[in-house]
Subunit: 167 residues, 2 copies
């Protein structure tokens, strides 16, 4: 089995969206994906890219992806990489493809002078948790992630913004 990691191009967008959907299904949220191919084209391949993406080809066929962007550590005074999605097709797991994707992301982080890699894992996903722990990752369990979206976000932004967001 020959595995090659490469940077995604616009031509990979349908495949990227298929991976995003497959990962959401694994995360027990199969209907959560609202993203479209047009969204990914605009936000990843336009003048202001919000993310970068790697594809793992296995014997010439896309078999997994790593989807990431740059965050920032005010304590370190350095950017970091935030790994939003990492996924390998169930049929080809156990061949080191996920590890190869993570290794490439780590290499990019060091090339760019990043202080760290960060990501999130569901608390019931013990195979992934064990895999990350063996790698030397720390779990930041003292921190709770907070999210504000939809109506609550519009309410906070104020009455004017609320009308704009509703239009």
């Amino acid at each position: 089995m020959a595995v090659a990691i490469r940077t995604a191009t616009e031509a990979d967008i349908p495949q990227i969206l298929a991976f995003i959907r497959a990962l959401a299904a694994y995360e027990r949220a199969p209907r959560a994906v609202k993203a479209t191919e047009a969204d990914l084209l605009r936000d990843g391949f336009g003048p202001r890219p919000f993310f970068e993406c790697l594809i793992a080809d296995c014997d010439g066929q896309p078999a997994g992806f790593a989807f990431y962007f740059f965050d920032y550590s005010t304590w370190m005074g350095r950017p970091g990489i935030y790994l939003e999605d990492l996924f390998v097709d169930p049929g080809v797991r156990g061949h080191g493809i996920g590890k190869a994707l993570l290794q490439r992301v780590a290499a990019i982080a060091l090339e760019k002078g990043c202080a760290r890699l960060k990501w999130e894992v569901l608390d019931w996903n013990t195979p992934a948790i064990d895999f990350y722990r063996a790698m030397g990752a720390e779990f930041m369990d003292e921190w709770r992630t907070v999210r504000l979206a939809g109506d609550a976000l519009a309410r906070l932004a104020g009455p004017t913004r609320q009308m704009e967001s509703a239009s």
Copy 2:
């Protein structure tokens, strides 16, 4: 008390670093801040800014800041704002300065077409947790944040990278 929110400039860098240090002390990690003024200048005000920053002036004096960057939701197919730091000087708390900073960040999020605001809070910081809950924020407690840094990051990146990072 007159409060005004404005975008930070290079001239604010010493003040931003002072806020970062004051927040770290509040978070019980007073020695965690390695960032320098040169780091913040390079990463926030160069050709590829990794973050944006707002300053709250209170009667013409800097009294707090919001430090954020853009992340991305693969489920929504939209960028989001990740609020890395939010801080108000203890001497002027209780006057709505933190709320005013958050409101401006929320307004920027809607202007930029973002799906959500995200941030982290320490699990013992109940005043902040109550404040965020009242605002309609959700706590993503099913997700654990994972971090890989230092030697573990270099090890993952591979032997070549390890040597480079040590040099």
